[in-house]
Symmetry: C2
Subunit: 362 residues, 2 copies
């Protein structure tokens, strides 16, 4: 077969969204202005002006902000600081496969709670807590969840925060997609609702570039301190050059118009995905209809085994991620994550058409 | 007191050695040439052209090269891949304090072997092995060792390699200072002597800039594979921008003349330290006389307690590192690490004079 391979695999930004000339200009500026700091060893919390900018935006003390090499690594540091092997952790099911792995690697005993169109099923969470489950933390992606695309409703956010106070667990709010809302109104972030109970994580990977590896965490000061110490003991400090580039990009006022550009690029791709699904998958599956983010999560009707699905898709030059990897406690064989930002509308249409023709063979 | 504080603490490069304009030029070039790769998510082993360059230099397959965010983090990944809690690890005593911490954190049971003027005491190593010690690895800094400054002799390198074959342990050769030899002849690296038994680690932190966080490991392919997988599961990939900058710096032929500049800057500082020690510390201590690197390790005569020494030094505006932190099994109260690269000859003379006047109060 000579057809073009279509990759419904990883959630990567579109290469055409990158702004290398602007980044080179920022690099030049910060290497002139800050070279004595950014080329030397430095404190592990990260480049101070960027920490200050993020802290001011949230109205908090900058000691609560820790910058890292992408937010995933901060999750690893956090897991190693907060979790002891065997302790309970709550996550959504499905959830981000890499975080599931990190939490399990740290010895967490994970329980996944099903995702509904308005986010995780809080009744089941409450029942588990009443049934004596005692999680250390609940890892959530409330906005345009990876991999489902769901947005957690305001009322459910508040209920979860109330539960976190009653049962004394941390909420880890991972929000890399929050600013990529293509339509509709934002829901208050969990951090806004409870800055004392919520550890916020985010990054510039989806907004400027994943290759810069600039992520951040906002945590209560005692936890930020422990994470910073573990970070220092692991890598001394993250690359200040990259963090200074991001800071300069923000300082010049380039981020906001760039996010507008991203929305103009990605919204038609979301629409193409939704239209293609309507056209080809009606009656074959149920899917989320998100208003932003990178993904649409889909559940196929009927009996599908992930292994067979992936194999047949690959034969049709369509690459899929194994849906079960997003489920911490098994299942998910018939779950498909459809990323849409890194593909053109034409590729999306062709990919969904191929997927539909494969699914009908089951 | 209004005297200037003198920091005999961390081993940092001189700020005046940085070349920010050159680095900005490299950043501009790589952001033009490689932006599609370096701004995107990418394989965890790191920027391929730099891996290839390093592999060609060593005449090995590039799959054996893993680039990381500084070499310390690669040591952490390696420890998590190779070590199970409770397993034995050999190190030099003294050794690099951050690595000691990383190996202990991974559950390693560390045994330190004393450093002599020609490197670690191999007779004691052999005796321990004959006495049934079974280390997974031996972590060594053969060239201008941190913190002692010692260079391991050729004959001892070969004996250790023979022992590693007989008793089946890995040698981890950390060599960040190897190229900073200010006089005398280099000894073959352990990797050159046994590329199948030795895992080589190094970095550009002491050669270009620590702030770039570009380190690397050369390992047998199976270990490189496991480390790359653990790295991916931890931070997806390191920053390719920084690695591409380093690659471009090398490609332009800027590294070699820059290393010559470093030698011209640092050699007089080493000499200043050696002369100051002769002048002020004769009869009070014994010290290494290295021909390169960043440090001179010194052992004070008589009874000194590290805590008291640090306190009295601080009162004299002289900051020291706690010598005992370099010793994995205790001791080292009378050990002082003297870094000389980040200080001017004048600061070195003044610092040593202050140290001598403190030591005479014990």
């Amino acid at each position: 077969m000579t057809e073009q391979t279509i990759r419904f695999t990883r959630g990567i930004p579109a290469v055409e969204s990158f702004t290398p000339d602007q980044l080179a200009e920022c690099a030049k500026t910060v290497l002139t202005k800050y070279y004595e700091t950014i080329l030397q060893y430095a404190p592990s919390r990260g480049f101070q002006p960027l920490r200050q900018l993020l802290a001011e935006r949230d109205g908090i003390d900058q000691q609560r902000v820790v910058l890292g090499q992408g937010s995933l690594e901060l999750q690893d540091l956090l897991a190693r600081v907060l979790l002891r092997p065997g302790q309970a952790v709550f996550v959504e099911a499905p959830s981000y496969d890499r975080t599931i792995n990190i939490l399990k690697r740290a010895g967490g005993q994970l329980t996944g709670f099903p995702i509904e169109p308005d986010g995780v099923n809080v009744d089941l969470v409450e029942a588990a807590l009443k049934n004596d489950a005692r999680p250390v933390l609940f890892y959530l992606i409330p906005d345009f969840q990876n991999p489902s695309g769901a947005v957690l409703s305001h009322i459910k956010r508040q209920r979860l925060i109330d539960l976190s106070r009653e049962y004394n667990f941390w909420i880890v709010e991972d929000s890399p997609y929050r600013l990529l809302r293509y339509r509709g109104q934002p829901v208050p972030s969990m951090f806004e609702l409870a800055p004392d109970r919520v550890l916020k994580m985010s990054s510039y990977s989806k907004l400027i570039s994943p290759g810069l590896r600039v992520g951040y965490m906002v945590a209560p000061e005692a936890i930020a301190e422990q994470v910073a110490k573990w970070a220092e003991d692991t890598y001394i400090n993250p690359s200040y050059l990259n963090q200074a580039i991001v800071y300069d990009y923000e300082r010049r006022g380039w981020l906001e118009p760039h996010i507008d550009d991203l929305k103009s690029l990605y919204c038609p791709r979301l629409d193409a995905m939704l239209e293609s699904l309507d056209r080809h998958m009606s009656g074959l599956a149920a899917w989320q209809k998100p208003e932003g983010g990178f993904f649409i999560g889909m559940t196929l009707n009927g009996d599908v085994r992930a292994r067979d699905l992936l194999k047949r898709a690959e034969e049709a030059n369509l690459l899929l991620t194994n849906g079960s990897s997003f489920f911490p406690n098994g299942g998910g064989d018939n779950f498909v994550r459809l990323p849409f930002c890194g593909l053109t509308p034409g590729e999306i249409e062709e990919g969904v058409a191929r997927l539909a023709s494969i699914v009908t063979t089951f």
